[in-house]
């Protein structure tokens, strides 16, 4: 976690998501935040290259949680799933923007996430990352944020963490 810079005009809120569960809540929270702060929302959907690589391996298996059922995965299916998640995220933002005036962009990136994300986040004061599947990427991102010292990163791996984080955000606002 990080501390928010006080009394700075917020221009951009970046939200980073991947194909994991807490994404939608993070997206909505970020959108709400951006709308309230009159900032631009930059949503970045990350197609984790590692997962795609894994899906390409001949012995790739996924163990379901919480069912513990083992099933094989392949690259096309993995890509389809990611596209599906990305589309869903995009629709969420669109829906939100229909209700609330909001400037927004939505991009889907694949591969080495942190550099690209940081690029889009260079001028952002808030970065919300809900990247359960891309832990490494998130860690890297955090590292970079710390180095640059310009923006604050809010990072959640699980739904519970995200909820705690959003509570914290609200409290700060008050």
């Amino acid at each position: 976690m990080a501390t928010a810079p006080a009394a700075v005009k917020v221009r951009r809120v970046v939200v980073a998501l991947d194909a994991s569960a807490p994404g939608k809540a993070a997206l909505e929270a970020a959108a709400a935040l951006a709308a309230r702060l009159d900032a631009e929302l930059v949503a970045v959907f990350v197609e984790d290259i590692n997962l795609l690589h894994l899906a390409g391996l001949p012995f790739a298996r996924e163990i379901g949680y919480p069912s513990a059922i083992r099933r094989s995965i392949d690259a096309p299916a993995m890509e389809r799933t990611m596209r599906l998640f990305a589309d869903e995220a995009r629709r969420s933002v669109e829906l939100f923007a229909e209700r609330t005036p909001l400037r927004w962009t939505f991009e889907v990136t694949r591969g080495s996430l942190p550099e690209q994300l940081l690029e889009s986040a260079a001028e952002a004061e808030f970065i919300i990352a809900a990247l359960a599947g891309s832990e490494r990427a998130a860690l890297q991102l955090a590292e970079m944020c710390k180095e640059s010292g310009s923006s604050s990163l809010l990072w959640a791996r699980t739904r519970r963490e995200l909820e705690a984080l959003l509570r914290e955000l609200r409290r700060r606002e008050e």
Binding site: I49, N50, L51, L54
Partner: protein, 808 residues
């Protein structure tokens, strides 16, 4: 025609025609001066029976108050019960509460009288207290800290297990990745996952090693993931335990307080203990907001069934029967004793097109309300409402009341309903009904005898003595006051009493028909008001009686008119053989009147049979036929005993086109017959009533007053000439309560009444011929018939030949 000598001895004096009532000695001028009386006039037998039936506490000694309508059965029963009930203990209160063990069988709580409502309020306060107290304890930091502790423990456990596997994998150069639906292992290369091409480039042995390692890791991971639900359950159990503990801290003090209040009532304490257990198990329902969102179905808002409709309903108390405002044993009269009103009902509420019910919707019936006291029911109503009679008997026999629908009782429905715990029954039931109902039930319903062992039989009449007249005067005075009518002066009271005697059809009896009495009083009051009098007089009473008669006498008037016009042939002068004026009573609604009826007899030689034309035409009833057969017996036994009765006679009620019943005309028929046999004309200015036996004695008949007045009215319409009169049985003289104008006519010698003891006396008056001469003429005629009957037998031969049928 002048009156025969024989008649004068049997003539009745005016004083015998109407027994006057005189209350001069009672020393009152108006009814205002008469004190109220608590005694019930003329019903000692019924009152004794009620006191006995009410006093005896054994099972089956319920009462049946029987007697005709309008004789004060309800009033008497109520009054006697009201005397007793206030001195008897108050019965306890009954409540229904939720049964936590078997919800479809609501449990019963017995509370001392008057405490049920208090208990209901206490339970309401308890629930309110819990609503406030329980959410509060869940808001404390203590609870939150412990809740987080449990959650964290679970999360840590999970993460540690996963982390351990991830660590182990990393040492083997394998990464644990989160996939959209779970976890997967992948071989690492530098910072990322090994690309498929790179993997294929690896030596075969290395590839196999990786695959084997991953397979082993996957198995381990599976084991861990399978453990997770178990850990979660454990965490949930801990949470429940925590919730119970926390809830208990809020609940126990509240319930303990209430338990202390009701410490003497073990049943209530047990119930409270169960409430506590249930609250601990269902604490979450107290944590929901009181006014939640309106329920919707496909977005359409639904009406809330009831404000109290919530899971908290189960802690309500249904105060079923309570006695906080009563003193003494209850007296309940159920006017509409249908099944539900008698044994209680279980109501339903429509909820989204379904009918639902619960223990709060059990409603008490009359048996419940009267429990511990008295229940008065109208026998006919109970019997005519479907299933009520059976339900009443079942409750009395089993000594408990089950609130159930008739369909449930008959086993016709199988949908889920409630079976409330039965309530023990201790009630005295008083059925009020006609005698016929009592005797029919006694005969045909074996259970009735066991359940209603005490019959209270109400009198319709009372002997008329000075004291009973005075008692009746007091009753009149009381009715006048209770109905808020004008007081009556003494003459009016006397007139009322005389009317009561007339109503009873007996100068020595008084009618106890209270409703009739009250009606006449109201009508008298009306006429007194019309006349502008503050005090009702005998004139008003007479006017009320006359007006009532006038309202009802259309048919009598029409019949009289037809007689006067000569359409109906009734003579009231002259004399004729074989023809006599009989008297019949017609009753229509509540009005009875007498009408003369011509009876004729024709005789000829024959086979000894008296033909009753009424019977042959099937217009005569069995009693009438019996009367005719008796007079044949009289004839056969008295005249020409040694000869066969060779008479063929026919008797008829002329111009009678509907049924004739009763034997009160049998003497008239006999007179007509004897007149025909003796050839002695009968004075048509006289009319006759009375039945006859085989010895020729004249016997009493009913409706003597109406009959006499019927003939009198006709004669008066044609002008009274001093010859007209009526023959009545001597034994009916005591029943005479005739109209004043008739008595005056008799006193003036313009009309006569004769009391007759036997046929001979009657014949002498009717024909003016002494009985011995008449009887000889009858005997001679019959002997003549007998000898003529024998004569053709001598010449039987040729007659037979004449009669023989020609051979073909």
């Amino acid at each position: 025609m002048s009156e025969p000598l024989a008649a004068s001895g049997r003539r009745l004096a005016p004083a015998q025609l109407r027994r006057k009532c005189s209350l001069a000695e009672a020393g009152f001028a108006t009814t205002d001066e008469l004190p109220d009386t608590t005694d019930l006039v003329g019903q000692p037998r019924a009152v004794e029976a009620i006191r006995f039936g009410v006093g005896i506490r054994s099972a089956g000694y319920n009462l049946f108050a029987m007697g005709p309508d309008g004789h004060g059965r309800h009033t008497t029963v109520r009054r006697l019960l009201a005397e007793r009930a206030p001195h008897e203990p108050l019965p306890q209160d009954w409540c229904y509460v939720f049964n936590f063990d078997t919800p479809h069988k609501p449990a019963r709580l017995d509370l001392p009288a008057g405490r049920a409502i208090q208990f209901k309020q206490d339970m309401q306060r308890l629930v309110e207290g819990l609503r406030a107290g329980i959410p509060a304890v869940f808001e404390t930091d203590e609870y939150r800290a412990r809740q987080q502790e449990i959650e964290t423990e679970f999360n840590d456990r999970q993460q540690q297990a996963m982390g351990a596997i991830g660590e182990k994998a990393r040492k083997e150069g394998i990464a644990l990745l989160r996939t959209p639906a779970g976890f997967a292992f992948a071989p690492m290369h530098k910072d990322g996952v090994l690309e498929p091409d790179q993997f294929r480039a690896l030596p075969e042995a290395e590839r196999q090693r990786i695959e084997a390692t991953i397979a082993a890791l996957q198995e381990e991971l599976e084991v861990v993931i399978q453990e997770v639900p178990k850990w979660r359950r454990e965490a949930q159990r801990k949470m429940r335990e925590l919730n119970r503990q926390v809830t208990l801290s809020a609940v126990s003090s509240l319930i303990a307080e209430l338990t202390a209040q009701y410490a003497a009532l073990a049943q209530v304490c047990r119930y409270l203990a169960k409430v506590q257990e249930d609250v601990l198990d269902h604490a979450e329902i107290f944590r929901q907001p009181k006014e939640g969102e309106q329920p919707t179905l496909f977005g359409i808002p639904l009406a809330r069934p009831e404000p109290g409709e919530s899971p908290l309903r189960r802690y309500q108390v249904n105060v079923f029967v309570e006695h906080s405002k009563s003193d003494g044993a209850p007296i309940v009269y159920e006017d509409n004793p249908n099944h539900g009103n008698l044994v209680g009902r279980i109501e339903h509420i429509a909820q989204m097109g379904m009918l639902v019910t619960d223990f709060t919707l059990i409603k008490a019936g009359a048996l419940h309300r009267a429990n511990g006291g008295y229940l008065i029911l109208d026998a006919l109503k109970v019997l005519t409402h479907p299933f009520s009679w059976d339900a009443l008997k079942r409750a009395l026999r089993s000594g408990e009341i089950r609130a159930e629908s008739p369909a449930q009782a008959l086993g016709l429905i199988s949908t889920v309903s409630l079976e409330p715990e039965p309530i023990p029954l201790d009630v005295k039931v008083v059925l009020v009904g006609e005698r016929l109902i009592y005797y029919l039930l006694y005969e045909y319903d074996p259970e009735f005898r066991e359940l209603f062992k005490v019959a209270s039989d109400f009198e319709e009449i009372i002997e008329r003595t000075g004291s009973s007249e005075l008692a009746q005067a007091r009753t009149i005075a009381m009715l006048v006051r209770s109905e808020k009518l004008r007081p009556l002066d003494r003459a009016a009271v006397e007139r009322m009493i005389e009317h009561g005697s007339r109503y009873a059809g007996d100068a020595e009896r008084l009618s106890l028909h209270l409703r009739g009495l009250a009606d006449l009083l109201r009508e008298t009051d009306y006429w007194a008001q019309t006349a502008g009098r503050a005090l009702a007089t005998a004139e008003d009473v007479q006017r009320a009686i006359d007006a009532r008669e006038r309202r009802q006498d259309r048919i009598r008037h029409r019949l009289q008119q037809e007689v006067l016009r000569g359409t109906l042939l009734i003579a009231s002068e002259g004399a004729r053989v074989g023809q006599v004026n009989g008297l019949a009573v017609l009753q229509l609604g509540g009005f009875a009147f007498g009408m003369p009826n011509r009876i004729t007899a024709r005789v000829r030689l024959g086979g000894g049979k008296v033909v009753d034309i009424e019977r042959e035409a099937e217009l005569g009833g069995p009693i009438h036929s019996k009367g005719v057969l008796i007079l044949s017996g009289f004839l056969a036994g008295r005249y020409a005993v040694r000869q066969p009765l060779s008479l063929a006679a026919s008797l008829v009620f002329e111009q009678s086109y509907s049924g004739v019943e009763g034997d009160s005309a049998s003497s008239a028929e006999l007179y007509a017959l004897l007149s025909a046999l003796a050839g002695a004309p009968i004075r048509q200015s006289l009319a006759v009533t009375g039945s006859v036996n085989q010895h020729g004695d004249i016997q009493a008949i009913g409706g003597v007053n109406e009959k006499i007045e019927g003939f009198f009215d006709l004669c008066r319409a044609r002008a009274l000439d001093g010859t007209q009169g009526v023959l009545i049985p001597a034994s009916n003289v005591q029943h005479l309560m005739l109209r004043d104008e008739l008595v005056e006519a008799v006193a003036a010698g313009r009309f006569h009444l004769y009391a007759v003891e036997n046929v001979d006396q009657g014949m002498e008056i009717l024909t003016g011929i002494p009985a011995d001469i008449l009887n000889r003429r009858v005997e001679e005629r019959l002997l003549d018939f007998a000898s003529r009957a024998r004569a053709p037998a001598a010449g039987e031969g040729p007659k037979k030949a004449w009669r023989r049928r020609p051979q073909p």
